[in-house]
Symmetry: C2
Subunit: 208 residues, 2 copies
């Protein structure tokens, strides 16, 4: 039987975390396909060979980062997309939630935006998979809404995909405005809100 805790495993997890954090930091100014294994271990202060005790390659580390960045985000979906009395209020809440997430985890957001179409296939695949799960969850939530009565399955899928893509666009918009003066950040939120509102309008008149 393998103890889940213990001095040994705890220390291992600590260096693993250090590797992930160091990589995430280095990835703010480059992309994964140019991230060197030695570069990461040097930043942590550990021997290059120690890297192999945790990851097969930097691509492997990238996949782990994807799970970390997106895996813990699923619970957020339900509360965001779920129906509310006021449509505008739900939109405002969603925009605020995205803005807060970007401010709290900018490196994670940058990593996803960068590697979604990046040069490392397994990582692209992992992101695509997570986003597909997101879309499916959004679709399931949309199906509950009374607004979606009479919608075809393809229509629901289309709208869910649109929402997921819009979420990423909004996130990367906030990311660009992170270090900018507050006025620009306000304008970003304004734009995102307007766009979501237009989609919402299109939604309510879809079956005309």
């Amino acid at each position: 039987m393998s103890h889940t805790s213990g001095v040994r495993q705890a220390q291992k997890q600590r260096t693993r975390r250090a590797l992930l954090d160091a990589a995430l930091g280095l990835l703010e100014e480059q992309s994964l396909s140019s991230l060197g294994l030695r570069e990461v271990t040097r930043a942590v202060g550990v021997a290059p060979t120690a890297f192999y005790r945790h990851f097969r390659s930097t691509a492997d580390l990238g996949v782990a980062l994807v799970e970390e960045a997106l895996g813990s985000l699923h619970p957020m979906i339900r509360t965001t997309v779920s129906p509310a009395e006021d449509s505008d209020e739900r939109i405002a809440r969603a925009v605020e939630l995205i803005a807060g997430h970007v401010a709290a985890h900018p490196a994670h957001v940058r990593f996803i935006a960068r590697e979604r179409h990046g040069g490392v296939q397994p990582v692209r695949e992992a992101i695509r998979e997570q986003l597909a799960r997101f879309a499916e969850e959004v679709k399931a939530e949309l199906a509950k809404d009374t607004t979606s009565a009479g919608w075809s399955d393809a229509d629901l899928r289309m709208l869910a995909g649109l929402y997921v893509d819009q979420m990423l666009i909004t996130a990367s918009l906030f990311l660009e405005a992170l270090d900018a003066p507050e006025e620009e950040r306000r304008r970003a939120a304004e734009t995102a809100t307007r766009q979501l509102r237009l989609i919402s309008v299109g939604r309510t008149h879809w079956l005309d």
Copy 2:
């Protein structure tokens, strides 16, 4: 006076083209920040130092690729977004046009999608600038449309941005489906059409 043609300058342009093409080819499986100067010259069959006769660095080459990939695309905007009798017909024409462009220049599209949020700042900047120009042109075209009567400047800007983003999303969707069976490509076109149609519906009911 410097002759624009001549055996000398012609040969220089030929190797320059060879460098750009080789780089574009190599960038199908990696990102710019990991693209080596020697890698490019080796692919062309030229000495590494010859690279410097054309570009200061690989980032510089990247900027040149951006101009090549997006610079020649501006004339397309007007004809695509310009008003038509039938809205659905315009949408279908736009989707077809994007699909055709992706099929004709897949490497260019992949490059833009990859480096838009990639690890090389000057290239990101160049892409951002070109896309901003696109958005402005789309906005100018939208302003002419009778559907946009009574729209505020911020509303027009929002919609133009939405269209530009949607164009990129659609392009990268087609890109993923390029080597896939025809049925998947058809579904991609279907989804893109539906999404544009929903935006169109939202547009016509915006001022309710």
